[in-house]
């Protein structure tokens, strides 16, 4: 399951749903998604960017946390779960000898705040830096 919770918020705002109503719908959805995750449902992180013009994933991470996911469960939705889903766990998804040098360097610890997942210092793919702030 790819929740794309922020997309819901984005669509609600786009359709001019009154704020109170929108909050309730979002809250229900977050709650429902939280039950799915708590029951052990496989969660893949996804944002639907380039459909949404706002590319920042911070809100998505916060909504996932609000649904009850721990920082490490969110990390799994970004790394190990998709690697398994695409049958590439022999190649990527964790930091271990023999795997592709695909890494993310964050400025802060996501255990302290899930916002840190979006606070990226640099990104490395196949041993080469593809982004640095």
């Amino acid at each position: 399951m790819i929740p794309t919770l922020k997309l819901l918020d984005y669509e609600l705002a786009k359709d001019h749903v009154p704020q109170k109503e929108a909050d309730r719908i979002l809250q229900d959805t977050v709650h429902e998604f939280g039950q799915f995750a708590a029951a052990g449902g496989k969660v893949l992180f996804g944002t639907d960017v380039d459909y949404m013009s706002d590319t920042d994933p911070t809100e998505e991470y916060e909504l996932m946390a609000r649904a009850g996911m721990s920082p490490m469960q969110i990390l799994a939705s970004l790394t190990t779960t998709p690697a398994e889903r695409w049958h590439e766990q022999q190649r990527r998804g964790r930091l271990a000898a023999g795997l592709d040098a695909d890494l993310v360097v964050l400025n802060g610890d996501p255990q302290q705040s899930v916002k840190q997942f979006a606070n990226v210092k640099s990104a490395v793919r196949s041993g080469a830096v593809i982004f640095r702030r």
Binding site: I2, T4, L44, F45, G46, T47, D48, V49, D50, Y51, T55, D56, P57, M72, Q73, L75, L78, T79, T80, P82, A83, R85, W86, R92, G93, R94, L95, A96, A97, G98, L99, D100, A101, D102, L103, V104, V105, L106, N107, G108, D109, P110, Q111, Q116, F117, A118, V120, K121, S122, A123, V124, R125, S126, G127, A128, V129, I130, F131, R132, R133
Partner: protein, 558 residues
Amino acid sequence: MRRLAALAFSATLLAAAAGPAKSAPPSPAAPSSRLDEIVSRGVLRVGSTGDYKPFSYRPGAGADFVGLDIDLAADLARSLGVKLDVVPTSWPTLMKDYADDRFDLAIGGISVTLDRQKKALFSLPYLRDGKTPITRCADQARFQTLAQIDRPDVRLIENPGGTNERFARAHAPHAQLTIYPDNVTIFDQIAEGRADVMITDATETRLQQRLHPGLCAVHPDAPFDFSEKAVLLPRDLVFKAYVDQWLHQAEASGALARQVEHWLAYPWGLYTLEQLMEQRLAIGRDVARAKWNSHAPIEDLPREAQIIGQLTAQAVKAGVPAPLAQRFFKAQIEASKTVQRHLFEQWTNAKQGPFADAPDVARDLRPKLDALTPRLLHALAQNLPVLQDASRAGEVSQALSPLLSSAVVNDREAAQQALMPLVPLLPQTAEPPLKALRAARIYPAPDAAPIDDGVVLVRGDRIVGVAPRSAQTDSLPSLAPACDGGVVTAGFQNSHVHLLGSGFANAQTAPAAALQAALTKLLTQYGYTTAFDIASDRDNTLALRERVNRGEIAGPCT
């Protein structure tokens, strides 16, 4: 102001009234020039003959075109943001193909002539040239002037249909003229003494004397006449203005001069080696038919031993180290057996009967194979410096790879086997160095304990370990200082993205910097090293992926 507004208003009304009368509304941006047509089509169709080094060369019917003018055409297409499609043409049919609109322009060492200009336009010239002789070095003194060449005892050779033939007929009518249809092997005719001299463009004589050490260009700096190379264009001045401006910029920036030098110094001789290897493997197909009929085994060890045994003396004579010559010919023999085995498998499955027209191995095929041996050794010797130069590995693989997709051989596995002994000639690149990424905290995986003050050890594109910091890791170079000191996790995957925005349009041809900026904004700035694209333009995303994987653009794998 009010009057203007009123006018504009009535014009709108008129347009609205006129609208329903026609089935399609008039388009305000109807193509007014070939230029607009090309951009809206997304493809630049470029005619080229593919037989004229260093301008345009095609190693085989299915192979890609290479050369100076193909590079120029690719640059032009890139500047327009469109795909390049090279359309094969030939010298005798060039103007007919032009008239039939088979291409938007033609390029490939085409000389400006008034005859051609009667039907088409030319761009600004990009190279000055002129007709000059090329002959065996020993005979240079005999062919200095046109008067010396225009004699009944001189065997002049020219390719058909182009300006060379026209020049020869006009200026040397008394010479014995042979019209030889293959621009690629025409110089061997002179080298082997079947013709004396050819008159062609000075640029080509310069190139061919590098490729055929026995041949010499005769005064290429002072050719008999003056000519210029230019792009053949349709009668469309807007399009011509664009091509001229692009050429002007290439010339003024020095890019054109660099490209000319690159393609003059290009190791064209590798194509000769590639073609000889192709011919040898193609004979393997005939051998297979002969053995199929005679039920002879594919492997013939005494014959193999005979070939290899006779090789040493020939190799030394040609200037090839004997062990290399043996390795090379063993590989050609193995590759030929692979071709034969694959054919036998096909024929067994198809219950193929005997062939009516099969040649005889000893009578028809072995002489052909034996004749190829010294030519292969000669080509190998000529190309040894290039094959041993690691900095030219790219050119080597570009020139030899057509063998892999050769339609004549039609056996990729065999072609790989045949090329194998040439690969180790390139000095092996050393193992990439071990580097360390230093982190305040590492999360190796969601279910593993974090490591504080640790390092991720990386070699090339692989992780080789994750460890706490130590004196040993302190001595390693940093993967990238910009990465040190943070909290490190495995690369993120965004499992639901679209690569639809204008930033990704024309991913095949758009400038790398623009695509890079779009990817950074969307994905890499948030740490996504893998992205799964859903419901976008598949071909466009694949083009983007290919360019990312080639290393042109830093981006996630999609």
